[in-house]
């Protein structure tokens, strides 16, 4: 078992596609299935899934790319922080290229700021340990998948009495925007391909209200192509039968109750707060802020800086794309003004962004 080739087997894919066609045979409408998570978006493009599906199934991409939904003023805040003397800004790679109002971390790095790409928040803690004379700020962007490890990094810094480590938080939770999108009258989502690894933490139970109260079927789906095809088949069967249940396709990882230990660590450090989503607006309770008890690790409170007035690129339609209302090729900037080399918005930057996926792999 390599855990990749087995889940890309062409013969099994053919059988799953037959089952999908079987499931929608005789179904005369179009069902709209939204993949919420950016990793799904990328995998669907990368494996060319759309072209294989029967015409009754339409896939749209949702707001599940953490970099994409981060508002521009967050980037501006990070830029202001990296201009501080004796400051190291540590971040996951994608944030570096996201355009702020007038600059980006990539540009600030080229001009001399100390911006480091790390693969784990614990690497940022290690940076702080190694550079006691500098303030190390980690850019805390991500959903329930990454937030427990960021909470863990704060607990580690606390335990080691590391005073020069802080996090600029912009953490978000997934079920909130799904409920907001479901309630949007312009957008009729018939089923959700629910995130794989977010669900490993929150469990499939997190989606029960969506299925129960809003009547939208939800299937927690893995990221490999066969996972995705099977998830689509399960959703298609529910939609055709008029059912709305939460099912787990990705059962080799996800349990209904999720990972309680990860959630314990997360909520020890963070508490729910309102959060602004690029394109969607403020969704009450959909963010995670650092609790008062750990405020000395909160860069917002610890390191006051002047942040410029936010200015979005005129014409950038990231917001509509994040809501699944338009596809990238319907945006006037796509491929002309906005390219991965010169992105107008975050959706073109992130490796999980819908625009980047369509640009890279074609629509």
């Amino acid at each position: 078992m390599t855990y990749t080739t087995e889940f890309r087997d062409p013969a099994v894919a053919t059988r799953l596609l037959e089952k999908i066609r079987e499931a929608v045979a005789g179904y005369s409408q179009t069902m709209t299935l939204m993949e919420v998570c950016g990793t799904h978006t990328m995998a669907i493009y990368q494996h060319g899934v759309r072209a294989l599906l029967p015409e009754q199934i339409r896939l749209i991409s949702g707001p599940g790319c953490p970099v994409c939904v981060t508002p521009v003023d967050y980037v501006d805040h990070a830029v202001a922080l990296c201009r501080r003397p004796d400051t190291i800004v540590a971040t996951f790679g994608d944030m570096v290229r996201v355009p702020g109002s007038t600059s980006s971390l990539q540009r600030e790095k080229a001009l001399g700021s100390d911006v480091r790409i790390v693969y784990s928040p614990l690497d940022a803690v290690a940076l702080a340990r190694k550079n006691p004379q500098k303030e190390v700020v980690f850019l805390g962007v991500g959903f329930e998948t990454t937030t427990p490890t960021i909470a863990g990094s704060i607990l580690q810094a606390q335990k080691e009495r590391i005073e020069n480590y802080s996090v600029l938080p912009s953490h978000k939770t997934i079920p909130g925007p799904m409920a907001a999108l479901t309630a949007d009258p312009d957008l009729k989502v018939d089923g959700y391909i629910c995130p794989a690894h977010v669900s490993a933490v929150i469990g499939s139970e997190g989606y029960e209200p969506l299925a129960r109260d809003c009547g939208v079927p939800c299937v927690v789906t893995g990221f490999e192509p066969l996972d995705i095809l099977q998830g689509i088949e399960m959703l298609a069967r529910q939609v055709v039968a008029g059912e709305a249940r939460v099912e787990i396709q990705y059962s080799r990882i996800v349990r209904p109750q999720g990972n309680e230990r990860a959630r314990q660590v997360l909520y020890e450090v963070f508490e729910p707060c309102d959060a602004r989503w690029r394109g969607i607006g403020v969704i009450p309770g959909s963010g995670l802020c650092i609790r008062e008890k750990y405020s000395k690790f909160d860069a917002i409170r610890k390191l006051p800086v002047r942040v410029e007035e936010p200015r979005e690129h005129a014409g950038c339609q990231c917001g509509e794309i994040l809501k699944g209302k338009i596809s990238p090729s319907e945006c006037a900037l796509f491929r002309t003004v906005c390219t991965p080399e010169n992105p107008a918005g975050a959706c073109m930057v992130s490796s999980e962004g819908t625009c980047a996926a369509e640009y890279k792999y074609g629509g």
Partner: protein
């Protein structure tokens, strides 16, 4: 050029690098058009034609599993000559050393350069060394230039692909990039991945003696990987290429490491791989000859030129879907060679 300063992405081998070359460096220094850009220049000479090429190496770390900056600097330039169908004759070496570099490290790099040059059968005939103050460089940067001779009368060009041609590769993709990445600080991947850095001139001789004029183009897919290189060939030749994902060899360890890091092996650098564009009637013979050569035992046909076109590269995915292949955008892995 969209940027007014040099960004790391300008060294990626992908689009930003092309922009920098096309918009700034080539117009100022030479002025040749994109269709005529190849891995080495052909110079007029007496017997046969001369091939001339240059490359700089800034890989970080300088030592990585299976190789180091020294053998990379020799193999890379030898391979650029070989891709033009030239037999490498001589190399120059320019060293830029950072103050404080341990001599033991320099010695190790030089010895591995010598071993690589011997293995490729090429002499290092001239060189230069400069030292910059600590902090103004990073341990060691190497430039190598190479001269070779083309002894046949047909030309291998990026613009040479024709409808019907088969695309061959001599083995699994992505080894070099992932070997370097896995040895970087902060990324302790417990994967046994070694660079594929190797001289390809002997394999090229084998390919040319098996295929002759039926070999239309050779390219080594270094930075930007197989995807970017095929995109270059498709554009230069004004054709459309169709790849078969299931035919492209990728080691399990590389596939796994790429999956963890969210990388696509098709875009990851190689240093001992070549893509051969071969007329259909000769493809089987060339493939068999490659497989008999030690540098091509895992060779495979991975796609074909399906027609005239505007440079599109499309791939049939493992599960039977289709996706288009674009050039590497931005910087996937800085300082990979």
């Amino acid at each position: 050029m969209n940027s007014d300063i040099i960004l790391l992405g300008h060294g990626s081998g992908g689009k930003l690098s092309h922009q920098l070359l096309d918009d700034l460096i080539i117009p100022i220094l030479s002025g040749i058009g994109p269709r005529d850009q190849n891995d080495a220049a052909l110079l007029p000479g007496g017997e046969g034609r001369l091939a001339f090429t240059t490359d700089s190496y800034v890989v970080d770390p300088i030592f990585f599993p299976g190789g180091d900056i020294g053998d990379l600097a020799v193999n890379g330039t030898v391979n650029d000559l070989a891709m033009a169908g030239a037999r490498p004759l001589a190399l120059s070496v320019g060293l830029i050393l950072e103050e404080g570099l341990p001599l033991v490290d320099l010695r190790r790099v030089l010895e591995s350069m010598r071993a690589a040059a011997d293995a490729a059968g090429v002499a290092i005939v001239t060189g230069d060394t400069k030292v910059v103050p600590r902090g103004k460089g990073d341990k060691i940067f190497i430039n190598t230039s190479g001269v070779g001779v083309v002894e046949h009368d047909f030309e291998l060009r990026g613009s040479g692909a024709r409808p019907g041609d088969r695309i061959l590769i001599n083995g699994p993709v992505g080894d070099h990039g992932m070997a370097v990445l896995a040895s970087r600080e902060g990324l302790e991947l417990e994967a046994d991945i070694r660079t594929d850095s190797a001289p390809l001139n002997s394999l090229v001789e084998t390919i040319l003696s098996a295929g002759g004029e039926a070999v239309h183009a050779l390219r080594d897919p270094t930075r930007g990987g197989v995807a970017t290189t095929l995109k270059e060939i498709a554009r230069q030749s004004q054709v459309e290429i169709l790849l078969q994902e299931k035919a492209i060899p990728v080691r399990d360890a590389v596939r796994g490491a790429c999956a963890i890091l969210g990388l696509d092996p098709l875009f990851v650098a190689n240093e001992g791989k070549l893509l051969a564009v071969v007329a259909p009637e000769a493809a089987a013979d060339v493939l068999a000859a490659m497989r008999r050569h030690p540098a091509g035992t895992e060779a495979a046909v991975i796609g074909e030129v399906v027609g005239e076109g505007n440079g599109r590269v499309v791939m049939t995915t493992l599960i039977g879907g289709r996706r288009s292949i674009e050039m590497l955008s931005g910087e996937q892995l800085p300082r990979i060679c």
